[in-house]
């Protein structure tokens, strides 16, 4: 443990994780609010349809579709992009922890954290579920 690079302690890691989570939530909320403004100005008077489940159209279910919609400045697409940032925030936290445990020379927890990251990536990309 004496070979730890200076400053890579659990407290420092906690500090960075705190900042990462905060930045993720703030940027997600900002994008969602921007999308909400576009969506409500354009569709605020439309009728609601949530009592019957139809499922989202395919462009709001995939990363590439959401990016496309957001780039064409569709309100719902921008909101969905904000939600993707939000979902990515804990994933980024886990990914950062892999690096942090590696810097702390904690091989055991690098493996533990990689296992969690693998499950997350599997669930976010596995179309068969």
């Amino acid at each position: 443990m004496s070979e730890q690079p200076k400053g890579w302690t659990d407290a420092r890691v906690a500090e960075i994780i705190g900042g990462l989570l905060r930045a993720g939530v703030i940027s997600a909320a900002t994008v969602v609010i921007a999308g909400a403004a576009v969506y409500l100005i354009r569709h605020g008077h439309a009728a609601v349809h949530y009592s019957v489940f139809k499922g989202e159209p395919s462009d709001l279910r995939t990363l590439s579709g959401i990016r496309q919609d957001a780039l064409s400045l569709h309100g719902r697409g921008i909101i969905q992009l904000g939600l993707i940032i939000l979902i990515a925030t804990p994933v980024a936290r886990v990914a950062f922890s892999v690096v942090a445990f590696a810097l702390e020379h904690d091989a055991l927890y690098v493996v533990v954290t990689l296992a969690v990251l693998a499950v997350l990536i599997f669930s976010l990309t596995g179309a068969h579920l």
């Binding site: 906690a14 994780i17 709001l60």
Partner: protein
Amino acid sequence: MNTLELTVLVWCASLLAGFLGALTGMGGGVVLTPILTLAFGIDIRYAIGATLVSVIATSSGAAAAFVREGFSNIRIGMFLEIATTVGAVVGASVALRLPTSAIAIIFGVVLLYSASVSSRVELDQPLEGEPDRISKFFRMDSTYPTAAGPRHYQVHRVPAGFSLMFVAGIISGLLGIGSGAVKVLAMDQVMRIPFKVSATTSNFMIGVTAAASAGVYLRRGYIDPGLAMPVMLGVLLGSLWGARILPLTKTRVLRLVFAVVVGALAIEMIYHGLKGNV
């Protein structure tokens, strides 16, 4: 009701749910899905998708503050997240195949359990004696700050706690809630981790657990941006507000009242689930 009116009403309900959820320690998600389904007549699948997203927001927002105070144990959290994320993927996959009436009934039962846990008094007595070998191998023992300086604690019964975390993950994935009540039970009661450490570490884990099922729900079209938007923004603001005034508030009576409300929502969910009109 048009989109704008619904957005404003759902935002207000979410703000209140997030506020009370933070003050009572139950989280906002647990009451939101029942309110969205029962009061707004929203299909439970849309309600679950929107609530799940808000759960990630509150957990990450609160964890950002807690993790710096030194209560959360990142190692315990990461180790147990193996169980909760696998459970969440399983739960979400099962949810896609269950009839909505069954989900409503399960939701009601979990609500009843949460209500009973919340009205209980929290005890904080560390168990003495040998921690088990797994907790030693994974170096889970740590310290947490108290008024009298850092206090050491040991972690016990890891296999039982790990199994219960798997169940917490399944519930979280199935219902789109944080299932903080089960997570705290696993750490506080089973693994004998001090309450404050259990509560903050549980909160820390909720975001990752919810993210694990969010992918499944997103691909299945459960996450509607128009509905998730007011829910996420409302719950997030409400929970930050609640957390801010929490130290200044006597929550005993509030927790009791909230538990009664949650209990009533639970019975309503079970009733509608049994009648098959959810």
